[in-house]
């Protein structure tokens, strides 16, 4: 019997796989059948329905397409989940938030500079990608500590743009 914790849309679910073709969820045993068709396609039979689901898996972070819609989940074993809680407690003591480029693009405007105060939800930079101007907003109330990039710079996805404290 293996136990997992699955997060989906900010909800957490405990799932147990009993090794006899059942998944136990919320106290109910669901019989299932699964067949992995290729590296990113899987069949799941469940509740008298066969789901053919394209998926991506990045370290237990799953992206599924179900009936045309994206469903994202995160899975941990029970053990990993306990570990994660400890890490989070530590992290919450640290201050400050980094603004990371959510997509590659051109840094069109830096709206807030070092020392500026920002409110949560306020735009801090504008990133141009795919012919569109995209406002990147602050996740917290705070003060801009450092700006790493200047206007006109080409930015890769995931690059740090600035830090707010």
């Amino acid at each position: 019997m293996n136990s997992f914790v699955v997060s989906l849309n900010n909800k957490k679910f405990n799932v147990e796989i009993d090794g006899k073709g059942n998944a136990i969820l919320g106290g109910t045993a669901f019989p299932y059948q699964m067949k992995i068709i290729s590296g990113n396609l899987v069949l799941l039979k469940f509740n008298n329905k066969i789901y053919k689901i394209p998926y991506l898996n990045k370290n237990g972070n799953f992206k599924f397409l179900i009936d045309g819609f994206p469903v994202n989940t995160q899975v941990r074993t029970k053990l990993q989940e306990e570990l994660q809680k400890l890490i989070k407690e530590k992290a919450s003591k640290k201050k400050g938030d980094e603004i990371i480029a959510p997509m590659p693009g051109l840094l069109l405007k830096v709206l807030k500079n070092s020392g500026d105060e920002v409110k949560k939800g306020e735009a801090v930079v504008i990133l141009e990608a795919m012919k569109m101007e995209n406002e990147i907003r602050s996740p917290i109330d705070g003060t801009v500590k450092k700006v790493f990039k200047s206007e006109g710079a080409s930015i890769e996805k995931g690059e740090k743009i600035l830090i707010i404290q």
Partner: protein, 498 residues
Amino acid sequence: MFKKILIANRGEIAVRIIAACKELGIKSAAVYSEIDFNSMHAALSDEAYFIGPPAASQSYLNIDKIISLAKKIGADAIHPGYGFLSENPVFISEVEKSGITFIGPSAKSVEMMGNKTAARTLMNKHNVPIVPGTTQTIKTIDEVKEEAGKIGYPVMLKAAAGGGGKGMRLVNNPDDLQSAFDRAKNEALKAFGNPDIYLEKFIENPKHIEVQIIGDKFGNYAHIFERECSIQRRHQKVVEESPSVFVDENLRKEITQAAVKAAKACGYYNAGTVEFLMDKNKNFYFLEMNTRLQVEHPVTELVSGIDLVKEQIKIAAGEKLSFSNKDLTLNGHAIECRIYAEDIHNNFAPSTGKIEYHSVPSGPGIRIDRGIETNSVVPVYYDPLLAKVITWGKTRYEAINRMKRALAQYQILGVTTNTELFTYILNSNDFLNGTFDINFLENVLLSEINGLSSTEISKQTEEAAVILSALLKQVEMEKLKTGVGYNGKNKWVEQKYE
């Protein structure tokens, strides 16, 4: 007829034009930027030529490179698609000077429709209704005050060189006029290098209705009915259909005749679109003319049976229009949904990456025009339009039901798409009743959706996703332990079905 057409575009519209070339027995030559070596349009065309680095300015917008390539490879015509160079009068002139045929209108027609005030003047002269207001730019605040008083508030200040909502201000009463005028001029100057402003009456909650027209080089014109394109976000169309439920037979006659007048006024040949705003009393006003093929042309093709791209090519080659309006009947109803690479739950941020899995819907009444397939790369450099799903039905209701089926079966994994947005639109009462206007999506529907942090899914879907996550995680752990891959005889992988 042409022997070889160079297609100065990429993505789904380049693929669409290649299809027309193949059906006409004309050789197609694609151009591709460095990032588009692996692209549908480059692989489907008969010939493919490298045109430069990914940035459009250095590839798909590079006039000199494109024209000299066309000459070198013996292309006798260039099709510009939409966007990029399609409405650039300099490009059109250069193409024609080089002895190559431009598949589109004359540079002069494009110029006549390019300047907003000039186009308004022209339309007014030819009895095409325009939004009440000035047909000249207004220079002083006194002039503005006087004209606004005549028209009646609310009024719109608009940039003469404008587009895309820049240099545009809504004014509700005389007190706000001065500051609005200053800011609009300033914005127009910055955006277009031209501070000229004109004044229009503000049309409240209008619909965007446009008419497909087509003309040949012999002065023959036809319209191919109207399209309803009011479902927009930031002036970008999202869903289009033909016909419009808001337009009855009489109104159709009036608006299509106005559109043909507009086309004649600028000596237009090629396929083109005359856009109108329509108020709730069904008064319609000329908005602008798109002097090119539109993204949404397939809905018109489906209800008329006309292949607009093949017609464009034939007209450019000097053939007469193959039909006239008495040959056309409006057959059924068609709807288009534009699949964009964007995240509707994250302020519509564009999404880029590799398409890991791509499976298109099939069956009755579905047409897919697309620029992507499995393993395609969606780059950051270009328009985020991935594909268009177009459905036909004998009735609007049938077309909508087919669209819902098609969207649920269209699987794109690897980039985030806006597919989900359409189910909200297609299920909304305003859409179903046809009572939506151009503000519906942004002001009504999106504010409802913003309440959803992520896709709303059924309990059964949720359970399936949760259980599957655990099962796949278990397979992964098993694999790490035993070193057996997906194709090995692992008990989880090869598990017997029933």
